[in-house]
């Protein structure tokens, strides 16, 4: 390992863009832009898939429970418990017991994301001004319409917060998805023999950048989805 941090980073940046010599594969070059891009996309793929599953499962459930005001103990307890699940165990168990590959890993990652989405959606809906809901009901809106037109829009900031939390944990865990046979940027990190020190660092840099990009995009999305009425500062 180079003693000068900056030099190491320099080496890593190079790795991302230009294929390098590798000790192991003897002759075949590793790294480079194409490979980096491929892994970034693979990483995104599994993250997006898992996040989608998590949203599909947890969002409606959270909306329903929040709207009805039931199951607080369940939703909040789930949220707390979810935070305590060690991601490594999830990946490891999936790989060892069930099988490798996207089909098994994506749902497993989704589990990690269900907890924050469920909790935040539940809480977000509960915090909606009950007067607004009452008024909507009095106007003759159906329960479903109330959820769609009143509660969900007003709960957007909190709900999106949950989705962002889920995205972070899923993306982070996807880094060790190679342990379960799913390619991702973790490949660079976990296979040091193949990709070398530079690959290791390159993988870390790419994951960090990817995470910040996703987080930033979701933040922007949240800003766009939040109705203007919620954004104005009270007089």
């Amino acid at each position: 390992m180079s003693t000068f941090p900056l030099a190491s980073f320099g080496g890593a940046i190079e790795f991302i863009f230009t294929p390098q010599e590798s000790n192991v594969t003897g002759g075949n070059k590793v790294g480079g832009f194409d490979k980096s891009l491929e892994l970034v996309l693979k990483h995104l793929e599994v993250t997006a898939l898992a996040l989608a599953i998590a949203v599909i499962v947890a969002l409606p459930l959270g909306l329903y429970l929040g709207h009805k005001g039931r199951g607080e103990l369940f939703a909040v307890g789930f949220g707390n418990a979810g935070r305590a699940i060690p991601e490594l165990a999830v990946i490891a168990l999936v790989a060892v017991l069930i099988g490798v590959g996207l089909k098994t890993v994506a749902p497993a990652l989704a589990i990690l994301g269900i907890a924050p989405i469920l909790v935040n959606t539940y809480v977000g809906v509960r915090q909606v001004d009950p007067a607004a809901v009452e008024a909507a009901r009095g106007m003759g809106m159906s329960e479903l319409a109330i959820i769609r037109k009143v509660e969900l829009p007003l709960a957007v900031p909190t709900v999106m917060g949950g989705i962002r939390s889920a995205a972070i944990v899923i993306l982070a865990t996807a880094t060790i998805a190679p342990l379960a046979g799913v390619e991702s940027l973790g490949d660079f990190i976990l296979n040091r023999n193949v990709y070398g020190e530079n690959g290791l660092l390159a993988g870390a840099i790419l994951v960090a950048l990817l995470a910040m990009t996703i987080e930033g995009s979701l933040a922007l999305l949240q800003r766009r989805l939040t109705s203007d009425g919620l954004k104005v500062k009270t007089a």
Binding site: M1, L88, A95, P107, A108, I176
Partner: protein, 247 residues
């Protein structure tokens, strides 16, 4: 909480497992084909001692350091409000970077081992503790602060005797989340040779087997639950005024 797939798998694997046990032909084996092997667990429970201790040490060190820094930052930002947005953003960035990536990003600087682990884990706790502390302080009613000032308390006295005690519930709520999250994430420090319970899930370069993984995960979660309850109790004890029924 268990994935439905896992349960289905358990059914399949478990079936074999129980069949074997009943017939008494095969001894319980600690390998991939068995979901959980009680015998092995009983015999090998000792090997979890050191990893658990390592795990605890790293978690405690990280949380204490993280809390100290975040708390100090929050106190500063409470008075100098201009600092709030940048600090929130900075702690947020540290939280967004996945811990594994963070571990390896620090490799050139601090190398493998516990130091890197603690730095990363502490950085992870900063946002939640900072944000909750600021929130807790902001939630103190203006009228209480007005009365305190008018009565002759100095700014320092107001902070330590009025604002912070009233902010305790929020602060501890943040601390709870930080502790639970850190306990879970600390399983990953195995990747930078810092020990911990992750070593029982991912040995040297390979995943271990279900029984070992499950026991380690169970210890992690039990630890998280225990700390959560302790902190919750501490908060209840520290805030007797919240336990009374309002008039």
């Amino acid at each position: 909480m268990a994935s439905p797939l896992l349960l289905a798998a358990a059914g399949q694997v478990g079936g074999d497992f129980f069949k074997e046990r009943e017939s008494g032909t095969l001894p319980c084996q600690a390998d991939e084909s068995h979901l959980f092997c009680f015998d092995w667990a009983k015999e090998n429970i000792d090997r979890y001692g050191t990893p658990t201790q390592q795990h605890l040490e790293i978690v405690l060190l990280s949380v204490v350091i993280g809390f100290a820094i975040a708390f100090a930052l929050a106190l500063f930002a409470h008075r100098s409000r201009w600092a709030q947005p940048p600090l929130l953003a900075a702690t947020g960035v540290l939280y967004t970077i996945p811990s594994i990536a963070f571990f390896f990003l620090l490799l050139p600087v601090t190398g493998f081992g516990r130091d890197t682990a603690v730095i990363v884990l502490a950085a992870y706790t900063l946002q939640i503790i900072y944000r909750n502390t600021i929130l807790g302080l902001a939630n103190v009613p203006d009228s209480v602060k007005d009365a305190a000032r008018g009565m002759g308390l100095t700014n320092r006295q107001i902070l330590w005797k009025v604002e912070l005690p009233l902010a305790i519930p929020e602060i501890i709520a943040g601390l709870r989340v930080a502790v639970v999250s850190t306990i879970a994430i600390a399983t990953l420090v195995v990747f930078i040779n810092a020990g911990g319970l992750g070593t029982q899930m991912y040995g040297s370069g390979n995943l271990t087997f279900p029984t070992s993984i499950i026991i380690a995960a169970a210890i992690v979660m039990a630890m998280a639950l225990a700390f959560d309850l302790v902190l919750l109790t501490a908060q209840r004890l520290a805030t007797p005024w919240r336990r009374v029924r309002p008039a």
